[in-house]
Subunit: 307 residues, 4 copies
């Protein structure tokens, strides 16, 4: 179950759209099935990857309900918003509909430790202290920098914080610092799942991560990777990771990366259309050829890339 | 009427709240009456000052309709949003309800000239090229820096751009550059109203501004000031401006400034409660004493400050 | 003397240049005389206003020595630099030449509390813990935001920190917080002089400031203002401040403000040429006319502006 | 020779230090020999990787002269500085000593297109239009974003711009845009070498790059990779790249990456000590073990990693 002891893979799900920009409701169902078959332990929806800011509130709520009706494992809902009214509304409707918890990212204006910590205190006051939440630490996108001490204070002061989505870069020493504090009893234990496109997932697992929470288009590979680690097969984990790294790195590009992901997910049958809602980047013919080339090379090692 | 030839004062209106955080609908009516009595030529609602990001979409639409039902001069609605779906929805509902136009602020991530210009092209595509819009240039808050050439390109490429809300700081030379381009036929004419708390309104008028669009709690003073300028009495304009400057500067503080404005507006009877919706700053006792002292000194020169 | 009990005015001195961009050594002498005659208690050189980043190291050292040879009151030297080698070298040469202390501004990259506090620890380790230093808190220019708690930690952990150059904006509540901590014995006492162009100096004095450290072109007015406050004449202080505010506000513009300051200082005979070293803004004819107009109005109240 | 037709690999060289922080002059010689043996076509010194901001001006000049005395292929000197006086001095001394050209990075404050273009115009005016320069486009570190059109304008307006150090991320489409403009005669041809740690060097070569300018600790691999590409063996290029990617990605971490690079370079005998000048990160025991593990895995494929 979703909580401080969660281990495994939570896929970050995109939001499928029709070519005309409308939400592709049917693809939500097939996408849920795809993720279930890939063996993930949970799903996170309406994150940055999910094009959440492009959605209308009623669309967001509709997507939450559609996913919850189909996906019978824990679902975390991204509820970050420029204002607390919107955050509270979406969190309330999501939890009422059966979500396992919510994810909160600090807005870009947060700078000092006190501002960041105060923002989480206010957020919890708004959504209710009974709603489990994931703390997202993603400075490359948010520009908000949280020291390990700030994370510890948020965890300490908010019992409803159950998980860290770790995607600071570089972030290996931060992971080690947090786990060392836990080991010494200087911080309570939380689950740590890794994002940042998975670019350092191999070493993050060795440093104490509990798994992955990222949108890489091969969630089944992430599931295998995490299992190998927990089975003690770090050698096998690295081999699998290294085989995927050339494509994983390519997919991790800001902006265009989401177009690549949706393209692969549509090729794999998870969603029907690769389209992003405007404004969003489109893959050039060269990009498409590069992706196809990368997948062809990957397919020689991992048959999942052959489709 | 609202358009490229607009001259005068458009007040930036706050959003009145009850002490419990709910929208204070009755105060919207009294606030509209206050602005009408103060002699302003129009109203801009749901701007940064209006705590717009803290509102739910249905609240925003409700406020637009309530204002339009009461205020019988042009109303501009701030429709900036993190996503285009929300912008399009609010713009559509506002125009359908009778708004004169909308105001669009670029999001903080915009950096290059192409990004900024592209953002306005996309915005116009979303809201419709028949909706008159105000271009807000407010780098101190948005961190987006527009050179004069970028403003000219937006004006040139988007016929529906009718007005610039000028609040770059320092911005006097930018004003002169734009007006010089117009004079030489190198840029079509638009209306320029000045924000930035009015801190340089005196010289901005002399440099070619058409008036003010700011939230200073004495809109009646702004009306007088602009009239004096257009009547050729710049000496009188400066005297009036200088008398208000100590308080105007105080009110122009980021964050706490809005609390001060609402306090004065409530003292003047425009709104019933000075409260901001959370999260928002509260005036300390010292701040309140400073404001009262400033107003007492101002009242010796301008009786409007005696209440 | 310069230290935690310093009260009064430290002028921020510009660096005078010849029209060809060379340092104007003779004007350094006349400038020192001007500041002595204006009654200031000390001088701060090579700050942001001093165009310090445009100087070669040997020029910086030369300026320090020339000033120290002429100005027989305490001199603080700005030693902020992109690297510690440069900071250490300039601090060492300045103290050896007789400077009273140094001023350190954090580089723009500092974000978290730990980064800022660590930067000051490293700086002190580099320049020596026996060198008294001024902590500059100027987020509008540096983008570094220090909470009151961060300032307290720097003061507590570094006994050689003797003074805060307070120029956060808005910053009145920060001033009150720091002084309240001192009153309750929760922070050791330091001197606080105010910068930010003096825009809130009136209320900063009432909130507990010890004086001003800014480059306003009428340092003699600042001296009078601070004296009035300490003589208990806050009414007179406000009247003097308000009279200067229209011009003070104008001079406080980023970029062009320094050109205005040098123009006034050259008109007052402090320096021979108003030139900035390239790259730097030049006053347009309109700007010059505006400044002359402001000074003419000011001269009716304060004869110092008549020259 | 160094110029618009340059192809191949320019290594970004670190600055070797002794454990006590002094410049390790002897290691400069051995480092030059190492790079010559690795087959690189040129060297770039005093870049971000070279810890340039930590150097005193006389150290910088000394390093330039020491390298030029030993390395008999083209040397480019990074001359970026917070002020033009320092830039002009270092550029002048470097060219007089025999450097092939200089590299200029825009300061972080540059935002609008005009600011960036103006900065390069001023830089060229300062260093002289006869000094060939490399335009560094590195937004992840500088926060300065240059659109392709800005690069074209700098190239067009400054004939002394001979090379682009391309390290925008993501940047593949930018590369294609610039090369397409050249092909259509809409932009004059310049050399483009790729930085950004080499993370996309494989596809950048296919998109039209002329080679690499980065500090990866296996410059001999970069030389092989570029040769394979120009020999038409893109399949072999990708295989070589993919083998190095797990370590290359690890080395590409901000901050700690330089410590890793110096560690490998010291293990390979290029420099004697892996130390960075303070302030700089140190490798933890875990990091060192991870690096050793990565190298051990790499050594099974590429014997250069066995040492």
């Amino acid at each position: 179950m979703f909580g401080i002891d969660t281990k495994g893979v939570y896929a970050i799900a995109p939001t499928p759209f029709l070519p005309d920009g409308a939400v592709d409701w049917e693809s939500i169902d097939s996408m849920c099935d795809f993720y279930l078959e890939s063996g993930v332990d949970g799903l996170t929806i309406l994150g940055i990857l999910g094009e959440a800011p492009k959605l209308q509130p009623e669309e967001s709520v509709g997507i939450v309900k559609r996913v919850l009706a189909r996906f019978d494992k824990p679902v975390v809902v991204g509820v970050s918003a420029p204002g607390f009214a919107a955050m509270r509304a979406l969190a309330g409707e999501s939890m009422a509909a059966g979500a396992a918890g919510v994810m909160i990212t600090p807005p870009a204006a947060m700078r000092t430790d006190d501002q960041i910590i105060g923002y989480y205190a206010q957020s919890v006051a708004q959504i209710g202290s009974d709603v489990p939440f994931v703390l997202q630490d993603h400075p490359l996108v948010t520009t908000v920098q949280m020291s390990p001490g700030v994370i510890r204070r948020i965890v300490t002061e908010n019992p409803s914080c159950v998980m860290l989505k770790h995607e600071d870069w570089p972030g290996l020493e931060k992971m080690s610092t947090l786990r060392a504090w836990e080991a010494k009893g200087e911080m309570r234990h939380i689950s740590i799942l890794c994002g940042n496109g998975g670019l350092f997932l191999d070493f993050e697992m060795e440093r104490g991560a509990d798994g992955a929470m990222t949108g890489y288009a091969f969630p089944d590979m992430l599931v295998d990777l995490v299992k190998k680690h927990f089975a003690g097969d770090n050698e096998g984990m690295h081999a699998l990771f290294d085989a995927h790294l050339p494509f994983l790195r390519y997919e991790h590009q800001s902006g265009i990366g989401l177009a690549v992901r949706k393209y692969v997910l549509s090729r794999r049958g998870a969603i029907k259309h690769a389209d992003l809602r405007v404004p969003g980047p489109k893959m050039s013919a060269t990009t498409k050829a590069e992706v196809d080339g990368l997948l062809a090379r990957l397919a020689k090692i991992d048959p999942r890339a052959a489709f």
